[in-house]
Amino acid sequence: MSSARKPKLAVWKFASCDGCQLSLLDCEDELLDLAGAVSIANFLEASSAVQPGPYDLSLVEGSITTSHDAERIHKVRRQSKYLVTIGACATAGGIQALRNFADVNDFIAAVYASPQYISTLATSTPISAHVKVDYELRGCPIDKGQLIEVIAAFLAGRKPAVAAHSVCIECKQRGTPCVMVQGTPCLGPVTHAGCGALCPSYRRGCYGCFGPMETPNTAALAREWQALGAISRDIQRAFRTFNAAAEPFRKESTAHGDQDHPG
């Protein structure tokens, strides 16, 4: 970019494991180019030097699980021209959205020695449930190549070239024989591409880390899982992981219960 002022980049953390932010630091080959193209103004994982806003591009990791964060995300939005959520927590509520299916107080009582110090919301919700989001990048964690693509697209003023179709297309493009047709239940046909079909390339079924693809027929997939021997609880658990609260996965998991595997 030849412009005098470099766009200011900020990275924000909400309820999350930091893995998606680390994907940015993991862009070893591209980090120098990134530092040349943007001013890294607020990225606590990388530097304690913080420049004040406003920011041209904010990358937001994590979900909203506390009333404090529910207010803080509005401050982030107000300081950000363009806001991109990165990862399953920010985009769908993350693994911590399992609380949405139960009573969070039960979890608190089970986990913490002194539950009276814990102040949390009853649900974990994606950033888009609170503020306008300009772009959502999927994955648990995100794919660093896709992150660079999104940033490069922002800098060029173009749409990111990120496909919303199934993992199957990536599987076939790399020549991996279908594990599901060979008998292993797989979420690939209903899962958003982006990982490069990593698990099937190691002969494992897809875990759905990138959340629902554009038009997921989860009911048809669940029927085929049953034909392969999966019980209702297996199906519920498969849909209740990192993207449990993404609506198509939430709905399918709710259609399956513990009835054929008590306890």
Partner: protein, 380 residues
């Protein structure tokens, strides 16, 4: 040409070596990831000796054969299109220069291929892609170069697959043309030989480096019996007469809704189809804004982006996407290219994760045209 000779099992090793000595990368069937796939082979030991495949709608598995046949399987998840028409290709790269930009073409094909084990249905599939990429008004330079350089060793099927229907599509199982050499495996308790038909001058030239003897009448007769056995054992049937008209007259058939309830819109059928050729292009720029790259990738009519135009996707409903694929493959392809787009290999049946069977879906519409009148207009 047109000559038949016979080689022993060892002769196949000599053939692989001769093709390699001719500067070719030899691609053939080999066992990997629980399937018989196509990949680079260096030795006869890389071939799937003693293996066969068991296929049903949505199911695939390998089993040991009682004999040591090298080609005792049908077709697997791979098709030759991945070598002639790779899944991802850079078309061009543009770099910013002091006063403008410089464009360089994507990489041109580096290796000369020899394909070993090409089935009759696959030869027909290659011929169909030739119509699209070579004979059409806009030839694809890289495809044409790879195709012109490819040496094809076909093989006659000695057994049929459960999801195959080449007999219905008149694309097999007997190899009729379009090869440099064609093999028929002759295997019983007393022998393991291959009958070879020489189909081109390049094929005749290679055979000078492969020990062989003239084929006997018994060899020819054994080869004919093997192919007849495959034809008789074919697993599926598609009634093609009147099918084009029936499909084109049934855009609102109830069956499209029924199949849409099962269809995952995952795109697997189009990816494994040896004739499907649709692609998308994606433009990428680098962080510094100095380089742009246009990449072409396999795409599928089952994705929303595939039919995206200003304002949204034309085929939003899954029924519309399945209907597009089936009617294009079996009907509109004939108007467009003069042949069906289907060669009856059965891959879309086997590799559909929920086992949707193209022959069943086509028959349901062809056999019950009346249901077409029970119109569903929403979500077309």
């Amino acid at each position: 040409m047109g000559t038949n000779v016979t080689i022993a099992r060892d002769g196949l090793q000599a053939l692989i070596e001769a093709l390699r000595a001719d500067g070719r990368e030899v691609i053939g069937p080999t066992v990997r990831e629980g399937a018989i796939i196509y990949d680079a082979i260096r030795d006869i030991a890389d071939l799937p000796a003693g293996w066969t495949d068991r296929q049903e709608a949505g199911r695939y598995g390998l089993e040991q054969r009682a004999d040591g046949a090298l080609f005792g399987y049908t077709v697997g998840p791979h098709a030759w299109k991945q070598f002639l028409f790779p899944a991802r290709e850079t078309l061009w790269t543009m770099r910013r220069t002091g006063d403008g930009a410089e464009v360089t073409d994507g990489a041109t094909p580096a290796s000369r291929h020899a394909f070993i084990g090409v089935r009759s249905c696959e030869l027909h599939a290659i011929a169909i892609q030739d119509k699209v990429f070579v004979s059409g008004p806009y030839p694809d330079t890289n495809y044409r170069a790879r195709r012109a350089d490819a040496f094809i060793v076909a093989v006659n099927c000695g057994q049929a697959g459960n999801t195959c229907f080449c007999v219905s599509m008149r694309t097999g199982p007997k190899v009729e043309g379009g090869f440099d050499l064609s093999l028929t495996e002759l295997l019983d308790d007393t022998r393991h030989d291959f009958l070879i038909a020489i189909g081109s001058e390049a094929g005749a030239a290679i055979m000078q480096h492969v020990p062989h003897r003239p084929a006997t009448a018994a060899d020819l007769s054994a080869a004919d019996s093997a192919v007849a056995r495959a034809a008789a054992g074919i697993g599926r049937h598609l009634q093609t007469e009147g099918l084009k008209q029936a499909l084109q007259a049934a855009p609102e058939h109830r069956r499209w809704d029924e199949v849409a309830a099962r269809c995952l819109t995952c795109g697997n059928c189009t990816m494994v189809c040896p004739t499907c050729f649709c692609t998308t292009v994606r433009d990428h720029t680098d962080l510094a804004g100095n380089t742009a790259r246009r990449v072409r990738e396999w795409d599928s009519c089952f994705t929303l982006d595939f039919s995206y135009i200003h304002g949204g996707s034309v085929r939003h409903a899954p029924r519309a996407r399945y209907r597009q694929w089936l009617t294009h493959k079996l009907a509109n392809w004939i108007d467009q290219f003069g042949t069906s787009g289907c060669v009856g290999c059965g891959r879309c049946i086997t590799w559909c994760p929920v086992g949707i069977d193209i022959t069943e879906e086509a028959a349901a519409i062809a056999n019950a045209p009346a249901a077409a009148r029970e119109a569903h207009h929403e979500g077309a």
